[in-house]
Symmetry: C2
Subunit: 335 residues, 2 copies
């Protein structure tokens, strides 16, 4: 496999954290090769002390600019042509990388990815998809924020791509597709979800109909389709609730001597429960529908989380994500 | 205070559960009076064994119909004029009840409430607001699903009503208002939130700007404003995540003999942590912006949760929710 191009400069965390994540990913996956994109001096200093085996699988691509977290997408395209984000996407475009990963500004990354890579035939807009922990394992949800809205036809395309990813990348046979709404009855919701409901129902997908926010976790559906505004709010809401619950547990287990004793006894069990739900384990959302693979990491990712995003990119590349989507859409077009 | 009109027939639970909730609310609040609306024979049978003190504070209003959970709002208005839901709202309209509570179909309840009670001057659409547990206590969030979309002006009205409720009903001095979006930077989001951002910023409210889904719980904001589609998805997502985490904890504490021993020791602490986050404690969302108080209970509420919704209605009535909103909007209109 070609190397993964890794933007180590963009995001809320220090570039050192992203480089540490890349090194962790290289140690975890002996087949992985990486191209670290950014300030060559900084990267060189951090690579210096690494083992020869790791350095042999690592190359550096210099980039003199950084896209900031509040940069307007259009400005990023026009004025940041030598940014680490742009160079990483360019490496995918010109066939030098199997995929790219960035923790930078979602709006700028979406704009640059569309501008450089273009969408596949039959796809109007790319969408961001991620695995979300659920009662039966995982639910795959899209769009998590590539777009601020979606037309009914775009929602149908998201449904088709979600089904392919669940099946061909994650091995879910006949994935059940649900359209996110505020009620399960057919007449509920606004005109966009109503029209999308008709389109998806007629698409030949294994469509279960409207689902609600709690169904993301229920195990009754494998792919949840929504627009990027609603999807991003739902994703951030999940993070917020999980954080609040973790804080409350911590506070209660520190509230008294007896509670802290109980906490010490319960800790291994709590750790096991938390491990399966750790948001860092789910870091790395794929931007799908483009001619190449772009993975968006959480902006505040630490090394552990960033390594997971790189792992997601490697999995998507190995499973031939782009080819599967392109073939499936072509098959639909000629059917 | 006038009695609270309680629709004991509508919702996913058995009417007996709602009657049990009403009786629980009467026991918890010795000043409360209730008018139970529904099948008089069923209600009479359930009231029979109660103490004379509870029966003295309870009246029955007969209703021969029930609005079903999948009933279209328009049909409910036209053909269910003697439904428990409609009779309960009518009791508020004609001054016989201080507020009404229903666990029925949100769409039908919203439509009937607008049709019978009408909105206050300066309010285009009522919104559903509820307290959500957060790091600093509670965040008040609206709209949680009365409307499937909202114009920028309606979002401004929701912000104004949310501020009044946080201040005058819940005692938050100078509540901080945030507009839900998919990024905190000024240029993020679609045109509706962009336009609402300008309107709320110019409104004289204590506006902190855009907030994201995780900020609902962060303690950095007191009132989160959004449209009813996004708000409802966020609310159901919270329920889903909390349920998933509770299930995982339960599974891990049952996974082995040692784990169940640790669970027995940790149980009192886990119970205390769970109590503060129990969704039943937060049941009862107010529909605000109408000439009377309407409280929506979760459809699957049990007696404990339904009693809480009745408590929310009583609190809103005692604090003069409707009058506070009407006065504040009038003051704005003449300012």
């Amino acid at each position: 496999m070609l190397p993964i191009a890794i933007d180590v400069m963009s995001g809320d965390s220090d570039p050192r954290e992203y480089v540490a994540g890349a090194l962790r990913a290289l140690l975890e996956d002996p087949q992985l090769r990486a191209t670290l994109v950014g300030d060559p001096q900084l990267i060189g200093t951090l690579l210096g002390p690494q083992s020869a085996a790791v350095r042999a699988r690592t190359t550096v691509a210099a980039a003199s600019q950084v896209v900031t977290m509040d940069e307007k997408p259009r400005e990023a395209i026009r004025h940041k042509k030598d940014s680490s984000m742009r160079v990483a996407v360019d490496l995918v475009r010109n066939g030098s990388a199997a995929a790219c990963v960035s923790a930078g500004n979602t709006g700028a990354l979406t704009a640059i990815a569309h501008f450089v890579l273009k969408t596949l035939a039959g796809v109007e807009r790319a969408a961001i998809i991620s695995a979300i922990p659920a009662a039966h394992g995982h639910t795959h949800m899209l769009d998590l924020g590539a777009n601020t809205k979606a037309t009914p036809e775009q929602l149908r395309q998201f449904a088709a791509m979600g089904a392919i990813i669940a099946r061909d990348v994650y091995g879910v046979a006949a994935p059940r597709i649900g359209l996110l709404n505020i009620g399960e009855e057919d007449m509920k919701g606004h005109e966009v979800v109503q029209a999308a409901h008709q389109l998806v129902a007629a698409s030949g997908l294994n469509y279960v109909g409207f689902v609600e926010g709690d169904d993301i976790f229920s195990g009754d559906v494998d792919v949840v389709v929504t627009d990027g505004f609603t999807g991003n709010v739902a994703l951030k809401t999940m993070e917020g609730v999980a954080g609040l619950i973790a804080d409350r547990l911590r506070q209660e287990f520190q509230a008294s001597f007896l509670a802290s004793l109980a906490g010490a006894i319960a800790r291994p069990v709590l750790r096991r429960a938390a491990a399966g739900l750790d948001p860092r384990r789910y870091n790395g959302a794929c931007m799908v529908g483009l001619t190449g693979i772009v993975v968006k990491s959480h902006g505040r990712a630490d090394g552990v989380a960033f390594a997971r995003a790189i792992g997601t990119a490697a999995l998507a590349a190995r499973r031939g994500l782009t080819e599967h989507i392109a073939q499936a859409l072509q098959a639909q077009g000629t059917a």
